[in-house]
Amino acid sequence: MSGLVLKDITKSFGNFTAVDTANLSVPHGKFVCLLGPSGCGKTTLLRMIAGLEDPSSGQILLDDTDITPVPTHKRNLGMVFQSLALFPHLSVGDNIAYPLRIRGASRDEQKKRSDELLKLIHLQGFSDRPVAKLSGGQRQRVAIARALALSPKLFLLDEPLSALDAKLREAMQVELRQLQQRLGITTFVVTHDQREAMTMADLVVVMGNGKILQAAPPIEIYRKPADAFVADFIGMTNLLDATVDKAGRVSVLGQAIPNLTMPEGLTKASVSIRPEDVHLGPVGGDAISGTVTFVRDLGGTIETFVETGGKTIVAVATPRERPEVVAGQQVGVVLPEEACVVLKS
């Protein structure tokens, strides 16, 4: 198929397996976020795609060609490093034109392309500045422009926004996504920020302990996480123990929830339900009764912590939806069946 395919990629450092039989196929033009906690192998996977690390076993295919033995400098890719790795001895323009210089482009060609890219990243007129004189966000853009100078087939970014402050980071996420859509370039971003992944990605690849746990569009990852780890990592969730009785009915916190089925052959599992799906209402009926222990009013949303059966359930709602609830109050918790996801625990 056309695009990038990872086939059984494994990478070991001594006894430690950084990436364990990773399989993934990404069509051209997709924006992929490799997401996971630190040490999960996401950066190692990206570095293998770049050719900066050699896989212990497995193959990397680009448009059906095995590129595993191809050295980095012949892979036609652009990469943005966490440290940005701008060359301190070169000006902004020369940094961006470096890949063209390597390939023997004329001075005029270099200038033309670097001006074009500076325009793309809204930094016209910065060509002659030393990189040391730029702000964090501007350096970020220069690193992106340099990586894109040769219109590469693959665009790789290793935690590109982690050095920026929160506001700038959010703005750059949107900008990066728009840029990628305009250029239609296959992009891989390593991040540990799930919000960043949700903002930018067509495909989110969640990793943990060197394994790819789930690869799916962001909303599917959010709504239908593959397991408890993914559910817990992506956004806030309530993970509750579920039991099944002889009749096959699944109950959570002692309350049977219809239409839920257990995974094949299991008697115990977890149920994940997102805080915004938890409804709070009056005590009685099908509702599970509990006590409000804490209310966090963030202005835009209100998080209500309800203790029931030794577990704390978090419910989120807008101030308009949520009736006045105060700590210590008895409430009824309703878990809508369509919002519950049964997961192997």
């Binding site: 050295p71 400098h73 890719l77 966490q82 060359f87 001895h89 890949p99 990586a147 100078a149 040769l150």
Partner: protein, 284 residues
């Protein structure tokens, strides 16, 4: 935080001790030497205080100009050889595991414990016809018969590079360890082969370190007076050798002092020139 300029005498107190040392062990002897360089030599004794330019005038001859030229050329060659060998070596060393690095550095430090005399005689033995390395070349079939490699210019150069190399590596090591390895990786992702990336990125990023190291080895090599005598012919003797000769064997202190002052001025001028060129290139 803005640092305040020192105001009272007490603020300067940390400088007293090093200042004193510098005066006692550098300013005073060097001033004495400058003074002596203007004295009149007394052939029957030592020298008599005077103010004459005879010593400098004598120095201004083709013979001494050639020696001075050779000394500077030798020191520059040693400096360039050392940096050219040590820079890639140190770079590769920093990529090895920590344990390997430590072993190498300890070995290099142990080379520093050898005196110049021992280094000189070890190399002169290695370069002889009867017991030297050419016998090894003969044994493995590279040469027909053993030859003497000393005395020669190349023997002097080898000995001096050997002596200065550990210093060069130890000066380059901290800067290379601190170099961001992603700079090189970035160059590779942009299409530069590893060697090209090294030349394009690592070398320019460490330009100031390289210039400083060149100057250090240059000054170090300029003062060497034993190795040229042990490993070279009289035509390979440096100004330092002649200064020693005049001062110790000919008892001509004023002339030796004049040569020494001249050598110091020449090397200062050369170092200054290097820094000036460096600054101009930086400004571009």
């Amino acid at each position: 935080m803005k640092r305040e300029a020192p105001k009272s005498l007490a603020d300067y107190s940390p400088l007293f001790f090093p200042g004193l040392m510098l005066i006692v062990f550098f300013v005073v002897p060097f001033s004495t030497m400058i003074a002596v360089s203007f004295f009149q030599r007394d052939p029957s004794g030592f020298y008599t205080p005077d103010f004459v330019f005879d010593n400098y005038a004598r120095f201004l001859s083709l013979f001494f100009a050639k020696v001075l030229g050779f000394s500077l050329m030798l020191a520059v060659t040693v400096a360039i050889c050392c940096v050219v060998i040590a820079f890639p070596f140190t770079y590769l060393l920093t990529k090895r595991p920590r344990k390997v690095q430590t072993i190498w550095l300890v070995c290099l430090l142990s080379v520093l414990s050898l005196s110049e005399v021992i280094i000189g005689f070890a190399w002169s033995t290695l370069f002889t016809r009867t017991a030297g390395i050419t016998n090894l070349f003969v044994a493995i079939g590279l040469m027909k018969e053993p030859v003497a490699l000393t005395p020669s210019f190349w023997a002097v150069l080898t000995g001096m590079v050997y002596q200065a190399l550990p210093y060069t590596i130890l000066v380059l090591y901290p800067a290379l360890v601190r170099l961001d390895p992603t700079l090189l990786e970035a160059a590779r992702t942009l299409g530069a082969s590893p060697v090209r990336a090294f030349m394009n990125v690592v070398v320019p990023a460490l330009r100031n370190t390289i210039v400083a190291t060149l100057i250090m080895v240059f000054v170090f090599a300029l003062g060497s007076y034993l190795l040229p005598q042990i490993l070279g012919r009289p035509s390979h003797w440096t100004l330092s050798v002649l200064i020693t000769d005049q001062a110790i064997y000919q008892s001509n202190m004023p002339f030796a002092a004049a040569m020494a002052v001249f050598l110091v001025l020449m090397s200062l001028a050369l170092v200054g020139l290097t820094l000036l060129v460096g600054r101009r290139e930086n400004a571009l």
